[in-house]
């Protein structure tokens, strides 16, 4: 079995700060990490490798520094790694990104036929959840999103059974391979990197492909040109005109503060009092 896992290197959003005056993102010193959602996809692939035997190829598109994310994946146990990087990809939206990745997957498929493609649910920087479905549609693969578990793989029948989170419940789905699976977070726990794999990761020659090597002939299908959407404005949320009325009283006793608060709130919002009485 051959599994491709698409991953992305992202800035750790917990550490992103916005410049208070210019409203621009301050990227300096923000560490780059593997998109946390992608680790669930990688672990699910590695579990299938343990159970059925598989070759796991990790794929990413990004700047040259994204190679670090691929090495991280190798250290967890992935077998191969491909970095697709080209200036022509700059400014890609989700449609253009899915075009580039789908094309790269087709190239990988030529070397060794692919049974499954895994992606994370979404990325923490883009938060779109659109690239997985985009790749599946471009490659005409069956699409299974928000999968919580791959129950079984039948390599002879080319079938896979998965549990998929849907609104209000879990769907148990059977489909044929090759298919693309986006994995929901919290479904498994990433294993520790072994010493042997860490050594391997440090020496592993990552395959680096430019646009042509990734099989993309038409430059207008990727980057800004291949992106139907444009960002027309970036701005900070407006502060509310009026700040909170801070409740104060002479005693500053919690009890007095609470009573004063309720009196003020209910005087201004009499309906709310009824709502609470109803709810309680």
């Amino acid at each position: 079995m051959h599994i491709v896992v698409c991953i992305k290197q992202v800035p750790d959003s917990a550490q992103i700060r916005v410049h208070p005056v210019t409203n621009t993102i301050m990227r300096q010193g923000v560490p780059a990490i593997v998109n946390p959602y992608d680790l669930f996809a990688l672990e699910e692939a590695l579990r299938l490798k343990d159970e059925y035997g598989a070759r796991v190829t990790v794929l990413t598109m990004g700047p040259p520094m994204a190679e670090a994310a691929l090495r991280k994946a190798i250290s967890y146990g992935a077998d191969d790694a491909v970095l697709v990087t080209d200036r022509a990809f700059a400014g890609s939206d989700t449609l253009a990104t899915s075009c580039a990745l789908a094309s790269a997957i087709t190239q990988i498929h030529k070397d060794m036929p692919i049974d499954l493609v895994f992606t994370g649910k979404q990325t923490i920087d883009g938060d779109t959840a659109q690239v997985g479905p985009g790749i599946a549609k471009r490659l005409n693969m069956q699409l299974l999103t928000y999968v919580t578990k791959v129950r079984s793989v039948d390599l002879e029948k080319h079938e896979v059974v998965v549990e998929r989170r849907s609104e209000g419940g879990v769907q148990l789905l059977n489909t044929s391979t090759p298919s693309l699976i986006t994995v929901l977070e919290g479904t498994n726990e990433m294993r520790f990197a072994t010493m042997a794999n860490m050594f391997r990761a440090s020496r592993y020659p990552v395959k680096v492909w430019n646009r042509e090597q990734a099989g993309i002939e038409d430059v207008a299908t990727v980057g800004l040109k291949g992106s139907p959407t444009v960002v027309s404005k970036v701005f900070a949320p407006t502060p509310r005109a009026v700040k909170a009325e801070i409740i104060q009283c002479e005693s500053n006793d919690p009890k007095d503060l609470s009573v004063t608060l309720l009196a003020k709130v209910f005087a201004k919002y009499p309906k709310l009092e009824k709502e609470i009485a109803k709810s309680a």
Binding site: T22, T94, A129, A244
Partner: protein
């Protein structure tokens, strides 16, 4: 929300004269999502928002209803009319029983190609994101995910789709210029629910899916419904009491639960608290959690980081308790108490209890 002067950039400079093929795309569509006999509330919220956009552009608002052939499915068209739609596209087929990507993608893509809407909106739910991403790629058009605000540039007939970016630290407005339809998914509970007007009617245009079960590769073997009773329904709660890192210790969260019990409220939390394992993931409010719009939101020990704010900003009344008088939460809460949450919470719980007892006697 409007932009901050420092970030002001020229808008619409890239305006492109639409070619005649794209000019033929007219009207606004809302995909009506439903499951087990009920419309997802986000679809009705979108009809309310879609109505405004349609009136601005001077076009019709349509609902798209896809499902099994029966009365319930047809009744969703009426629901759509009651909430603002002028017409509905109805596609009934046994193959549309459970949601599956393949038949729904084909059905919706065919409808778009045939009737050509200029804007199409879906809820940013698991179903909506799965379907929107597939349809947009098939149509090779632009799709903006998880929007929190919609507008139109009437002159350019362009959808201005605004969404949080960089983990919610900033907002960005995204446009799809020379592609149609312009697609967006919108976060549930961000837009207000429109008033229901049962006197409204509309026309129904029916169409066929034109697929056979044997064409569809993915099969649903089983559906295991969630045990609804023990799942918190945070997005629809009228009152929420939320705690953040300022609660200091997991044990202190009991004070939050105590107040919630007196108020008949749901308990919410910030991401750090959920990540620390103090509270269930289902209760996380904010950018990577749930969006809520209760009538009363009590934020305790929550600094008010933008990631949390985007999930609860639309609450009718916000009361904040925080020991730091400079915490950003006081910039957008309606009332605040500066002080130690561990002493104020029990007092507040008692005050509510006493107030409710008096109100009951009086009522």
């Amino acid at each position: 929300m409007s932009e901050v002067p420092a970030a002001k950039k020229p808008l619409g400079k890239k305006r492109i004269e639409l070619d005649d093929r794209l000019k033929a795309y007219k009207g606004i569509w809302v995909f009506i999502e439903h499951e087990r006999g009920k419309i997802h509330p986000v679809s009705l919220e979108l009809l309310g928002e879609g109505r405004k956009l349609a009136d601005n552009l001077g076009v019709e608002l349509a609902g798209v209803v896809m499902g099994v052939p029966n009365e319930t499915t047809r009744s969703f068209c009426n629901e759509a009319f009651f909430h603002g739609a002028d017409l509905c596209y109805l596609m009934e087929d046994e193959l549309l029983t459970d949601y599956r990507n393949e038949p729904f993608t084909k059905g919706l893509t065919d409808l778009v190609n045939k009737y050509q809407p200029e804007i199409m909106l879906l809820g940013a739910t698991t179903l909506g994101r799965d379907l929107a991403g597939s349809v947009a790629t098939t149509l090779k058009t632009g799709l903006t995910a998880d929007c929190t605000e919609l507008n139109v540039d009437v002159e350019a007939r362009s959808l201005l789709a605004t969404r949080p970016t960089f983990g919610g630290s900033l907002l960005c407005t995204i446009q799809t210029l020379n592609y149609r339809p312009q697609m967006a998914t919108v976060r549930p509970r961000v837009m207000p629910m429109p008033e229901k007007d049962t006197s409204r009617t509309g026309r129904i245009i029916e169409d066929k899916l034109g697929m056979f079960e044997k064409d569809i590769i993915t099969k649903v073997l089983e559906f295991i419904p969630d045990a609804m009773q023990d799942k918190p329904q945070l997005p629809f709660a009228d009152i929420i009491v939320s705690g953040g890192r300022g609660m200091k210790k997991p044990e202190n969260f009991k004070l939050i639960w105590d107040l919630a019990e007196v108020l008949g409220a749901e308990v919410g939390a910030t991401r750090p608290v959920v990540q620390a394992g103090w509270v269930d993931l289902e209760r996380q409010v904010g950018q990577s959690g749930k969006t809520v719009r209760p009538k009363l939101y009590i934020a305790v020990g929550i600094s008010g980081a933008i990631q949390h704010r985007v999930g609860m900003d639309a609450s009718d009344v916000i009361i904040a308790i925080n020991s730091d008088a400079n915490a950003p939460i006081f910039d957008f809460a309606h009332y605040g108490i500066v002080g130690n949450a561990m002493t104020i919470l029990p007092a507040l719980t008692e005050a509510f209890k006493a107030h409710l007892a008096t109100a009951r006697k009086a009522g």
